[in-house]
Symmetry: C2
Subunit: 278 residues, 2 copies
Amino acid sequence: MKQWISEVQSEDLELRFSVDSIVHSENSEFQNILIADTVEYGRMLLLDGAVMTTVKDEFVYHEMITHVPLNVHPMPKKVAVIGGGDGGVIREILKHESVLEAVLIEIDEGVVRASQKYLPEISCALSDERVTILFEDGIEYLKNTENEFDVIIIDSTDPIGPAEGLFSKEFYESVFRALTTDGVFAAQTESPFLNREFIKAVYASISSIFPIAGLYLASIPTYPSGLWSFAIGSKIYDVTRPHCRHTVDGIATKYYTQNLHEAAFVLPRFVEELTIKK
Amino acid sequence: MKQWISEVQSEDLELRFSVDSIVHSENSEFQNILIADTVEYGRMLLLDGAVMTTVKDEFVYHEMITHVPLNVHPMPKKVAVIGGGDGGVIREILKHESVLEAVLIEIDEGVVRASQKYLPEISCALSDERVTILFEDGIEYLKNTENEFDVIIIDSTDPIGPAEGLFSKEFYESVFRALTTDGVFAAQTESPFLNREFIKAVYASISSIFPIAGLYLASIPTYPSGLWSFAIGSKIYDVTRPHCRHTVDGIATKYYTQNLHEAAFVLPRFVEELTIKK
């Protein structure tokens, strides 16, 4: 008999993966951390039963949440990641030679420890000397930070439980203050098929705070509906294209390209509607 | 207890939908035809257990397989659909005012009958006077057709069972011959995450026959991996942009837009690789 794990995507929708073995399971202070070897998508990290990342498709999420904001900014030197304890975003950030310092603010030390032990392909850059890891609440951290980061990336779980506050207008206001005068931020913002009202509200908040806002898409097979949205806010730079095409071409990627950066902002009509003020 | 149906996407991957009721089930000469009311995606058509279409997300597939080739051609008058018994492609084709005649060649009469009875939102245009329905083998039909259609759309099931022959080089050669001298064709070509070698082979066949070939993508939540590819072949027109932007804007869509037509051809790097001759 095969062993399976199910992701309960909603009350009425489940994605089931056959599993070779359960590698790790623990209940941290904040959530259940599960790592399993799936046959179809390789090693997988789940938090409270929701798929966070898999070895086979992680490149899409990590490249798209990172290289879009980091290529919008012409010279990102200091970058913060809120959440992102698996280290995938940090790994992508450090591909940018301009980056001198990356600060990871992850509330759950257990996620970092488990990823370092069991997901080396993803967490490999966490030990880089340019990286500082803080096990703190990202909301509190950014409240006390001003004019500090060129780019901030919100690599959070879904907007329920510990991550709920990471989608509030007050939080985006702290993000704005924590950014330098030409700063850029990006955040994962759920599925345009399944979370339409949520995306509309988040996008409205962001565009009320940032002079330039955008919504872009990427295809992530292990996330509900397979289509995922990201919001981006910028103080001065156009978000829809990479600042310097030369730099972009020098970064090894499997999903992101300079042309794809632009194309990711071209939205299907039913998604475009979510960004239009009425 | 809730009732569920599972789509077995591979031996190691299943997508499960909770179901209010099973509306229809029959074994036709060719396959099992199942129609069920799912909670998350509305009414759903499955053939031999594979999800063909759902009321909630059908717009993506039907718009993208239709409006891309029909907008590449400047004046499509006569159009053929191979497969497509649910009628969704026909419905989209008839939104183009230039179209005088649409011929549906569907091998399984059962699919058309069940769709007409239970999926009126999708099949509604099958009774239009511009439409001819032939219950025949599309492969045989095109073998005996020459210089006849401005556009041919291959709306097939997966390349196993009855549809296998619809992905062979010989078949694409008949498609080429059946098209007028400036003809265009498009076909669904599976998931770039799960069917990489298949797409590479199909794309190589098409580009060896058609002077202009392209691969484009759309996000379909109920298809395996959520990301779907379409191949397009053209005798003389550039496929990556709509011929006449004015016409495009006049067609009611939920996914397709003139900008999205172009963006759909901008491929993530791991998909772009499938189209490069080595």
